[in-house]
């Protein structure tokens, strides 16, 4: 009965709670902000549950659709709707954001309420982007994320935060502007009635138009993914951001790029995508190997995890663009590749959220991110060590953890296309094992060597909850991947079919 309003109420709840927390929250009465945030979390949880329960994966098209005329003069609608991949990403957003709210909970700093408000604002716009079915509404939410993100990095981050925020802002803004041109072009073609994205899928475009469309989209999304060589904003942003912002950045904002590729780039300009696919697959491979090698050389924990994110996202892009390289007879390989890429997105989100959160705990206690300043933490912080072990194993792709399924599917498909590409793609396992186990070993194993590591400042309640939740979800993704796969299979098959068509 309420199906028509669920998505709008989700976005509206996040917006209103963000505004209220900003207005009402104060450092003298921290429970105001915390109470509001708790209510907002519970509300979002209920709506998310309703969405999950009411969603039918096998039904084609978008569900929970809402369509209202927004700007009459320019034919822009406020249109939202979810399909398999949107819904998975929205549930992921709700999950990670509730962990973020829990993480900010015990903060005593004077601006904790404003920080909460900023994070909830990011949540509102993220859900708006994932749920949007009108292109200009998607663009509005996409750009609107920028200001809260740079504020959260710049105000609550560490030493070089201004530079990191600047780089993030300029890179993303410049990339997105060309996407705006492309969206306006597509929406004003004679054949397209308005800006609805899925109405553009059957649109006939000639080669030049497709080239223009693909380039515009690709620049914007490749910067967000981030795809080598447009990745240079990521290490700075992740390193200098505070813990919760790192979690949001790594887990959610990076997924915007790949989601955009699946939603916009591939179905609307399939021929040019096919033409560019070999180059982009090679770039993905370079990203995997480059990310892994540079991660090995890092002395800063967060930077290491940031480069690991670049490597994993390289694998995702490889999985997405591989569908154009498979031998035509075996479309099963293409389907598996796409499923693997998307699964990798979700699993990497949980893994990197866990990794960044752990590093945040350590930084908060010991005020250093340098790996060589730590040793033997397993003695003093056993729960942290156990959970981090699960995140580390998921990062390197051990079967049984979430990171395995996606990697396996993608590497399996790559091997079927070309054995040498498969070999290079499999290097991701080798490299991620190297840097992850190096990181883990240096931090947790060995004797307790440094005096500042000795006082075992035990974990707070909220931190334990977050760690255990993340570890459990990572394991459950690895042991029971079928529920997620069943949700996304029909949508990905549909997108695959659209991407493999030819429009010329």
């Amino acid at each position: 009965m309420f199906n028509n309003y669920l998505l709008t109420s989700l976005i509206g709840l996040s917006l209103i709670s963000s505004l209220l927390i900003y207005l009402i929250g104060s450092e003298q009465a921290p429970w105001r902000a915390r109470g509001l945030a708790l209510l907002s979390m519970i509300g979002s949880f209920i709506i998310g549950l309703l969405l999950l329960v009411g969603f039918n994966p096998n039904q084609p098209g978008f569900q929970f659709q809402e369509n209202y005329l927004w700007i009459k003069a320019w034919n822009i609608y406020y249109a939202v709707g979810v399909d398999g991949i949107s819904l998975s990403l929205i549930i992921l957003t709700l999950f990670i954001m509730s962990l973020v709210v829990l993480s900010i909970w015990p903060m005593q700093s004077p601006h904790a309420a404003q920080y909460l408000s900023t994070c909830l604002l990011i949540q509102a716009f993220l859900i708006g982007s994932f749920a949007a079915t009108d292109a200009i509404f998607f663009y509005v939410c996409w750009e609107a994320i920028l200001i809260p993100v740079i504020l959260s990095i710049g105000i609550w981050g560490s030493q070089e935060r201004a530079y990191a925020a600047l780089k993030l802002f300029m890179y993303t803004f410049v990339g997105s502007m060309f996407m705006l041109l492309v969206l306006l072009y597509l929406g004003n073609l004679k054949e397209s009635a308005d800006f609805t994205i899925h109405h553009w899928y059957p649109l006939k475009l000639n080669w030049l138009e497709q080239l223009f469309v693909f380039s515009g989209f690709f620049i914007a999304f490749a910067i967000k993914v981030p795809l080598w060589p447009l990745h240079t904003w990521l290490p700075h942003a992740h390193t200098e951001a505070p813990t919760e912002s790192s979690m949001i950045l790594a887990a959610l904002m990076l997924k915007l790029g790949s989601y955009g590729l699946l939603r916009f780039c591939l179905p609307i300009a399939p021929d040019v995508a096919r033409w560019f696919a070999p180059i982009i697959c090679i770039i993905g491979l370079i990203a995997i190997i480059y990310g892994g090698l540079v991660a090995l050389a890092q002395q800063d924990m967060k930077r290491l995890i940031a480069y690991s994110s670049i490597a994993h996202m390289g694998l995702t892009i490889l999985g997405i663009f591989l569908v154009f390289l498979v031998p035509y007879a075996s479309s099963e390989v293409a389907r598996v590749s796409l499923q693997g890429a998307f699964f990798q997105m979700i699993a990497h989100a949980i893994t990197s959220a866990g990794l960044f959160f752990t590093v945040g705990i350590l930084y908060q206690r010991f005020h250093t991110r340098t790996i060589s300043h730590y040793q033997g933490l397993a003695h003093t912080m056993p729960l942290l060590a156990s959970c981090f072990m699960i995140f580390a194993l998921s990062n390197l792709g051990l079967p049984g953890t979430g990171g395995f399924v996606g990697e396996f599917f993608v590497i399996m498909s790559t091997v079927q296309v070309n054995i040498w590409m498969g070999l290079l793609a499999a290097m991701t396992v080798l490299l991620s094992a190297s840097y992850t186990l190096y990181l883990y070993g240096r931090l947790f194993w060995g004797e307790v060597a440094y005096p500042q590591n000795t006082p075992s400042i035990s974990l707070k309640g909220t931190e334990k909850i977050i760690l255990i939740l993340l570890a459990v979800s990572s394991l459950s993704l690895g042991i029971l991947p079928m529920p997620l796969l069943n949700e996304i299979k029909p949508t990905l098959d549909n997108l695959l079919q659209l991407s493999l068509q030819t429009k010329l």
Partner: protein, 488 residues
């Protein structure tokens, strides 16, 4: 009496009467009342009441039909009516924000309000002009008080220098305007604008008329501050008191836009060079110059000056495309007016709190010290950069859509790149306010309290967000404004 009320030319007449009354009151008010609390604010309040009265008066005259008075010299059509409403509305905002800045700089408050009221009178005459004579009358009445306002601090050397630059360049521009007028009178044998239009719309306009149009255009572009006629803008904005910059940067631009619309609506064929409008060229030059030079500025008002040159480049660009372009131009003009009024208003309020901001670096740490004003400047900067969900984004969207529908893809790319460049210096200000701590720990202490201008600033910011999310009503009224100008 009621006939006088519904007779539109009474509106500027009323303003003239009130302004002269305010002048006489100011001159002959007894000294002891001048010093008292309400005496100091008397002229300020009287000016605001005048504006409020006029605003309601014009609003009550709805619906607006095209009427001509004084044998066509005075035109009252939807453009005049709506634009008068906008002008008076923004003047109200300016008056409210400026008071604190004026008193804190110990400037003569009453002179400011008198000069601005005279200038407003000139603007109202300008946008209701039906003949070349009234255009010139309104333009001069608008500009002369502006020249005087720039040098409000009589002892200041920089202000005198800026005022001299402004006067001399402004007088030359007026001379060009009259030159163009004389040519067009010579050819059309009439001063009326609507006698001019059939000649200009004809594709075989004589060369002299094309030159006349160019001269007239150049004069107005000078008044607007469009490159390459922009050289007065940075010096005047920087040297004038913040209250004066607040006036010059906002209201004359909209009035200039109004009269430019009226003249351009007749002019599309006359001002083309091999098919494309010369306005495109001026627009692109303005965009590029404004955004590039703003990158290297270290003083805040100078940066805002160059950014306004850039924004006017956008407006001029959309004027180049007839019909839909006019609507987008007015929409962008109104959104720009709201944004820049808000930013300069916040700066004026900062003066009251003891912070006379000249250099951008002086904004350091404002996010902590003065959160509400810093938040307002944040909203203003984001809106000007074109970030959703603020109004500035929709204005840029309108222009980009216009360019893409007209198939001017390379111009659209230039607009996009200029916006991207512009985003840097807006971000820089946000960065300095929020991400850096102040150098000297001894900023003037301030206990937060809500004052009336601050509340109006907050409403201004809410309007930017509100119109950014629900622009339909604004777009609707922009359409109403230009419908009388549309070429059939």
């Amino acid at each position: 009496m009621s006939q006088l009320f519904t007779f539109p030319p009474t509106i500027p007449l009323f303003l003239l009467t009130m302004t002269i009354s305010i002048l006489l009151t100011d001159l002959f008010l007894p000294k002891h009342i001048h010093k008292s609390y309400w005496g100091k604010r008397f002229i300020y309040l009287l000016s605001i009441l005048t504006l409020l009265f006029m605003e309601t008066w014009i609003a009550l005259l709805y619906p607006y039909t095209t009427q001509q008075f004084f044998t066509g010299h005075f035109i009252w059509d939807p453009l005049t009516a709506w634009l008068s409403l906008v002008l008076i509305g923004i003047s109200l905002l300016v008056f409210i924000y400026a008071y604190d800045d004026l008193t804190n700089r110990s400037l003569i408050v009453n002179d400011y309000y008198l000069l601005t009221l005279f200038s407003l009178l000139g603007m109202l005459v300008l946008i209701s002009a039906g003949s070349l004579l009234i255009v010139y009358l309104g333009l001069e009445l608008m500009s002369l008080p502006l020249y005087a306002l720039v040098s409000l601090e009589r002892r200041s050397n920089v202000q005198t220098e800026a005022a001299m630059k402004y006067i001399i360049m402004g007088v030359v521009a007026s001379a060009l305007l009259l030159y163009g007028f004389s040519f067009s009178y010579g050819i059309s044998q009439s001063l009326m604008l609507d006698q001019l239009s059939p000649l200009l719309a004809d594709t075989t306009t004589p060369l002299l008329l094309k030159i006349a149009s160019l001269l007239i255009l150049v004069a107005f572009l000078f008044k607007l501050g469009v490159a390459p006629f922009h050289f007065w803008v940075p010096d005047v904005y920087q040297s004038a008191a913040t209250a004066v910059t607040l006036w010059i940067a906002t209201v004359p631009k909209l009035a200039g836009l109004g009269i430019l619309l009226r003249i351009m609506a007749l002019n599309t064929h006359a001002l083309t060079i091999s098919g494309s409008s010369i306005l495109l060229v001026f627009g692109i030059i303005s965009l590029v110059i404004g955004n590039l030079i703003a990158l290297v500025q270290t003083e805040l008002k100078r940066l805002l000056a160059y950014s306004s040159i850039g924004h006017l480049g956008f407006i001029v660009l959309s004027l180049a495309l007839p019909n839909t372009g006019y609507k987008v131009a007015i929409f962008y003009g109104i959104s720009y007016g709201l944004m820049i009024t808000m930013v300069l208003g916040a700066l004026a309020q900062l003066t009251k709190r003891g912070l006379d901001i000249r250099f951008i670096n002086e904004l350091r740490g404002l996010g902590n010290q003065h959160p509400s004003l810093a938040g307002i400047i944040l909203v203003g900067m984001s809106a000007m950069a074109g970030i959703p969900p603020f109004l500035g984004f929709l204005a840029k969207l309108g222009i980009l859509q216009l360019l893409i529908i007209a198939k001017l893809y390379s111009v659209a790319c230039i607009v996009v790149m200029a916006s991207a460049v512009g985003a840097y210096y807006y971000f820089n200000i946000i960065k300095i306010m929020y991400f850096e701590t102040p150098e000297k720990a001894s900023l003037p202490s301030y206990t937060p309290h809500y004052s009336f201008p601050l509340i109006i600033l907050l409403f201004n910011a809410i309007a930017l967000v509100g119109f950014g999310v629900f622009p339909d009503i604004l777009i609707h009224y922009c359409e109403r404004m230009v419908e009388s100008l549309l070429l059939s």
